[in-house]
């Protein structure tokens, strides 16, 4: 079987996902095209050089609708013979794009792909594409649907994480992200966002709050308590599925949950021959990929079973992994991952994560693969695992290995 390699991984800085965020003025298609152009320019790609662009994106309406992948290719300088495929696996869309591309290469369906994703959360609000699982009573009741924040709090309750545990993880994410920036650890992957004149719009993650303290976080109000306990009372629905619990402890708030941001990322994936033909040096092999479905109510525990699956499928043990990227969708998701595998926190999200820098839904999966690769190279380590929890109860994972 052909192997699939990562040749390059880039990302935009992440802008605050609000009207006053720096990237709010940039269209989804423009930011995507900039990523594609940067990827082509950095690697000297020209012509019908990749098989496809697989682009993760969650909220596929408005400017992100109408097959954003194809629109982005056409907006970019890429050859029009490269088509474009938009995909949605919620928060793992960017990872799924990479995994899908890698598996296409492995299966011989094309020598190379650009895979990644984008989410302009300030421009196309989360949830604005609708969702039967939340709105259709038959499905909502069949699945005991609750919003993600309730699920995150349910994880904390079920597995015994306190508000202090979650806040401590958040403070550490902020500290690590700030330290990583101070140490220029993202230098290789960051592609500044520019206007048509070449003027810089944003060149660093602007969501980070390095001054975050436990005391500061302690003052924040739990975000999901009211919708859980009062209107419309989602806790009751979750507890119907988890009847051994008497109540849900609401520990998550804006400071220990992932930030709403704008951003994009891209990864160049190809076979060995592709690299040789274009004079590119592979940085890592995509050793294994996995996805799984889980209980949609607790929803966000996917990283645990999907990691079990990917390790089993690839004949590996948790101890074979040198570094982990576990998307910080909510603090409890990462806490649960570390608890389940008894993994040292020093190996997980070493340069901070989505709590500090934000979580542009469709892009994050590709971002963390790049972050993982950069850190493996910086520290001279070999193997890394990236994983994300996913809405509606799913999980995805990728294992990469430096070559």
């Amino acid at each position: 079987m052909t192997e699939a390699y990562i040749y390059d991984a880039i990302r935009s800085p992440r802008g605050k996902g609000r009207a006053d965020g720096s990237l709010h003025e940039v269209t989804s298609v423009s930011l995507s095209a900039q990523m594609l152009n940067a990827m082509a320019a950095r690697n000297g790609l020209a012509g019908h050089v990749v098989e496809d662009v697989i682009w993760g994106n969650v909220t596929q309406v408005g400017e992100q609708g109408g097959c954003l992948a194809r629109s982005s290719v056409l907006m970019s300088d890429l050859d029009e013979r490269i088509p474009g495929l938009s995909i949605n696996r919620f928060c793992a869309s960017g990872m799924e794009a990479v995994n899908l591309a890698a598996n296409q290469v492995k299966g011989g369906a094309g020598a190379a792909y650009i895979a990644g994703g984008v989410e302009m959360m300030s421009r196309v609000p989360m949830g604005s594409d609708g969702a039967a699982i939340a709105v259709d009573p038959r499905l909502a009741m069949k699945t005991y649907f609750v919003p993600q924040g309730i699920s995150a709090d349910l994880i904390a309750t079920e597995y015994g994480f306190s508000r202090q545990d979650a806040d401590a993880l958040a403070v550490e994410s902020q500290r690590r992200a700030a330290a990583a920036w101070a140490d220029n650890r993202f230098a290789r992957s960051i592609v500044p966002v520019r206007d048509m004149n070449g003027l810089t719009i944003l060149d660093r993650d602007e969501f980070i709050r390095p001054d975050t303290t436990m005391e500061g976080l302690a003052a924040l109000k739990a975000s999901f308590k009211d919708m859980g306990e009062v209107m419309p009372g989602f806790d009751k629905v979750a507890l119907m599925k988890y009847p051994h619990l008497e109540r849900i402890e609401h520990i998550h708030h804006a400071g220990n949950s992932s930030g709403i941001v704008d951003g994009a990322a891209a990864v160049l994936i190809g076979s060995k021959e592709f690299g040789e033909a274009h004079g590119l040096k592979p940085r890592a092999r995509i050793r294994a990929t996995a996805k799984i479905g889980t209980d949609p109510t607790i929803m966000l525990t996917g990283p645990v079973p999907v990691t079990e699956k990917i390790l089993k499928d690839s004949g590996m043990a948790i101890s074979d992994i040198d570094l982990f990227e576990v998307n910080e969708a909510f603090a409890s998701v990462v806490l649960r991952f570390m608890q389940a595998f008894d993994v040292d926190a020093a190996k997980v999200n070493v340069n901070g994560g989505s709590i500090a820098m934000g979580h542009p839904l469709g892009a994050t999966g590709a971002i963390i693969i790049g972050t993982l690769l950069d850190e493996l190279e910086r520290t001279g380590k070999g193997t890394g695992l990236a994983t994300l929890c996913i809405a509606s109860g799913m999980g995805a994972a990728t294992i990469i290995e430096r070559v």
Binding site: G127, G130, A134, V135, D136, P137, R138, A140, M141, Y144, F145, V146, M231, P232, G233, F234, K236, V237, L239, M240, P243, H244, L245, E246, R247
Partner: protein, 730 residues
């Protein structure tokens, strides 16, 4: 046979269709009635001399709804027959709504107005909703609404689709999901009806409207171009919030066990995404699915048909009317005071006796408290309050009982005290008066020994709080005669509650089933089952209170008292030592339940329940291995249900209808199931026996399937097949 509807056209060309079902005080819709209405609408639309139509009633009310017996019959035809039948109704109502208009121009319709003299429920409102205007008489006693959900179905003749399109999902929710009823003014305020007029002007105003109506008045908003659902359709930003919240609220409130609520919401959502006629079709599909669901069949049977049959005297002996004129209540404690209130409120003169005048007065002031609350809510007038209180004489003097035709004794649960007041009362009351005891624990036949007239001695067991609980359990002692039974039944009918009649045995029927339920929950605590799992398992199967909360409410020392008495009565056969280990320990710890602000739950100083008491795990640690939810539910249900079967086997219960209705009204037994016997029928006797065998193997002989159940499993019988009321009477 007289027709359900009559048709007349006046000199101005206004046709009046009058609904007046013969030999019924309230109009109900039958299939024949619907066909007749259809033909009259055809006639009015076809007759060029008819300018418009008034649909009204020849009775003081408009209609009480669909004849639920018809719904029960419709089910026999299967899904296709139900669906076709419902679509036919939609066709008639849609014909009324469009009234001959040209579909493209929306012109040419004849005005059709509904004129409601009084109550309009169910189809009695769905029919008006299809008309172009609803005018109601200003009759504050009239109830307007769609109560279908209360009996396990939902408005399935367009009421769901029309009300949502008229008011929006959010505003329609209380009327559809809770079956909220309104008087005409409130219904007008909510936008359900259009106009309220003085009763004497009703028909004149309806005619005036028909003659003045313009083309635009006859086009429903949803038939007009550019219609948008009020409050937003599901994927409109505002509608999104409503629908996401609605599923969670309905799911949480119904614990997922009521198919009608789910189907209703699904019909609303799916219907909101398509044009009106498609929405009606969707409503019909979901309505069909609900009618085909055994839960709705069981709910209609128990909560409507059989409840009403029992209230109307299905088991009453054939003796002359025994309505109570003057009631004596002995003991003015909580039960006595409650009995005095409901009786006085029903127009019965009451003598309320206690040993001390102060206690008697306190008992009377209980009524005052309830009436004051009613006044605050605008439900009770000052005159009414004075009238009700005026009927209650609070005294210590037994001589005041002279002329009482019924006595209800509600003194302390001590045979000596009871014997004493029985003798005192019998010395004063007329020879033919009936004496009833409200005991909940003492055998009636034993107490009857204190009576000089044991044939006139009976048990009338009320549930607490008396003014809220709808069931009254009537217990026949060995010597109790028919007149006493009839007296008790007539009394219960006067106070508008639902009676069941059972024979005398330990704890009668209700408590006999409730006690094992509580005990099973406590037993699980002793075994190390997570207390939250015990409580939630109960609620998730539609029981109103978990067993631990229930024993907190009824008090743990009462549990101890009953356990001790049962132990004495049963001797070595006493099976509940494991329960007592927990119960007696709790009592020793002073955790006597809600009244002590400490029980299986923790409470704050104001008595608000905070959560399960965390000290319980110190004495009864939570086990590593926990049972499945289903196993816990089977234990909690079978503990009650097997007791009901044994009560039937032993002849304590003589009618399964009473067993089902009594369980739902008496202790809130899973209403969705239709009651213990209906639940066993849904489950199937064979499956029930199988569950029992599993439980018996794991947990002991208390789960052994009774012989009756085994026999039925062998023969493939159901309770309602084997013990059908008509067979019983034969």
């Amino acid at each position: 046979m007289t027709a359900d509807f009559t048709y007349a056209v006046d000199a101005d060309g206004v046709a009046t269709i009058t609904w007046d079902v013969a030999r019924k005080s309230m109009n109900v819709m039958s299939l024949e009635g619907f066909a007749l209405l259809d033909s009259m609408i055809d006639r009015a639309l076809a007759d060029q001399d008819v300018r418009g139509v008034i649909i009204t009633s020849g009775k003081k009310d408009f209609a009480g709804g669909m004849d639920l017996n018809v719904i029960a019959q419709m089910r026999a035809g299967g899904a296709q027959a139900i669906f076709d039948g419902v679509m036919q109704m939609h066709g008639v109502l849609r014909k009324i709504e469009r009234a001959g208009m040209e579909p493209n121009t929306l012109k040419g319709a004849k005005p059709i107005v509904a004129a409601l003299p009084g109550t309009a429920l169910g189809i009695g409102l769905e029919l008006p909703l299809s008309c172009h205007r609803i005018i109601a008489a200003d009759n504050p006693k009239a109830k307007i609404g769609l109560p279908e959900i209360m009996v396990g179905i939902f408005p399935g003749a367009g009421g769901t689709t029309r009300l949502v399109r008229k008011m929006g999902a959010m505003m329609a929710a209380p009327f559809l999901l809770e079956g909220k009823l309104s008087d005409p003014k409130a219904a007008k305020g909510a936008g359900i009806i259009d106009e309220v007029v003085a009763p004497e002007d009703l028909l004149a105003r309806a005619k005036e409207w028909v003659l003045a109506a313009k083309e635009a008045d006859l086009v429903k908003p949803w038939d007009a171009k550019g219609y948008k659902m009020p409050g937003g359709a599901p994927y409109h930003p505002a509608g999104f919030q409503t629908f996401v919240g609605a599923s969670a609220m309905v799911h949480g409130k119904t614990m997922g066990v009521y198919p009608a609520a789910k189907a209703l919401l699904a019909a609303v959502y799916e219907g909101a995404l398509v044009p009106f006629d498609a929405a009606l079709r969707i409503e019909a599909r979901h309505f069909t699915s609900v009618l085909m669901n055994p839960s709705s069949a069981a709910m209609i049977r128990s909560l409507f048909i059989n409840k009403e049959a029992l209230e109307k005297g299905a088991v009453r002996p054939a003796v002359a009317d025994q309505a109570v004129r003057k009631l004596g209540v002995l003991g003015a404690g909580m039960m006595g005071a409650g009995i005095a209130y409901v009786s006085a409120n029903a127009g019965i003169e009451v003598v309320l006796i206690d040993a001390a005048q102060e206690a008697a007065d306190r008992g009377k002031s209980y009524s005052e408290g309830i009436l004051d609350k009613g006044m605050k809510r605008g439900k009770v007038t000052a005159e009414k309050k004075a009238e009700v209180l005026g009927r209650i004489t609070a005294t210590t003097d037994y001589a005041a009982l002279a002329g009482c035709d019924l006595i209800v004794e509600a003194v302390f649960e001590d045979p000596k005290v009871k014997a004493d007041v029985t003798a005192k009362a019998e010395a004063v009351i007329p020879q033919d008066a009936i004496f009833a005891t409200n005991t909940s624990t003492l055998p009636i036949s034993d107490l009857a020994r204190a009576s000089a007239r044991p044939k006139q001695f009976i048990g009338i067991h009320f549930f607490s709080p008396v003014d809220k609980m709808m069931l009254v359990e009537i217990i026949k002692g060995r010597q109790t005669g028919d007149v006493a039974v009839a007296k008790a039944l007539d009394f219960v009918r006067q106070i508008r509650k639902t009676p069941i009649v059972v024979n005398d045995a330990r704890f009668f029927y209700a408590n006999r089933c409730i006690i094992p339920y509580i005990n099973e929950g406590i037993r699980m605590v002793a075994e190390g089952v997570e207390p939250a799992l015990v409580e939630n398992a109960a609620k998730l199967v539609g029981l109103p209170l978990g067993p631990l909360q229930l024993v907190d409410e009824t008090s743990i020392d009462l549990g101890v008292k009953i356990a001790k008495a049962t132990r004495v009565a049963m001797g070595d056969a006493y099976p509940d030592a494991a329960v007592d280990a927990v119960l007696f320990w709790m009592a020793d710890e002073g955790r006597l339940g809600k009244k002590a602000n400490a029980g299986f739950y923790a409470y704050d100083a104001a008595g608000k329940r905070l959560g399960l008491w965390d000290g319980l795990a110190g004495k009864f640690p939570v086990a590593e291995d926990q049972p499945t939810l289903t196993e816990v539910q089977h234990r909690l249900l079978m503990a009650q249900v097997l007791e009901a079967v044994r009560a039937l086997e032993e002849g304590v219960l003589t009618d399964i209808r009473e067993g089902d209705v009594g369980a739902i009204l008496g202790w809130g037994f899973a209403p969705w199931s239709g009651g213990p016997f209906s639940w066993l029928d849904i489950l199937g006797a064979a499956r029930a026996v199988e569950i029992c065998e599993g439980l018996e193997a794991a947990h002991g002989a208390r789960f052994r399937a009774p012989a009756l159940l085994r026999e039925m499993a062998g023969k493939g019988e159901t309770f309602y097949g084997r013990f059908a009321p008509e067979k019983r009477a034969a």
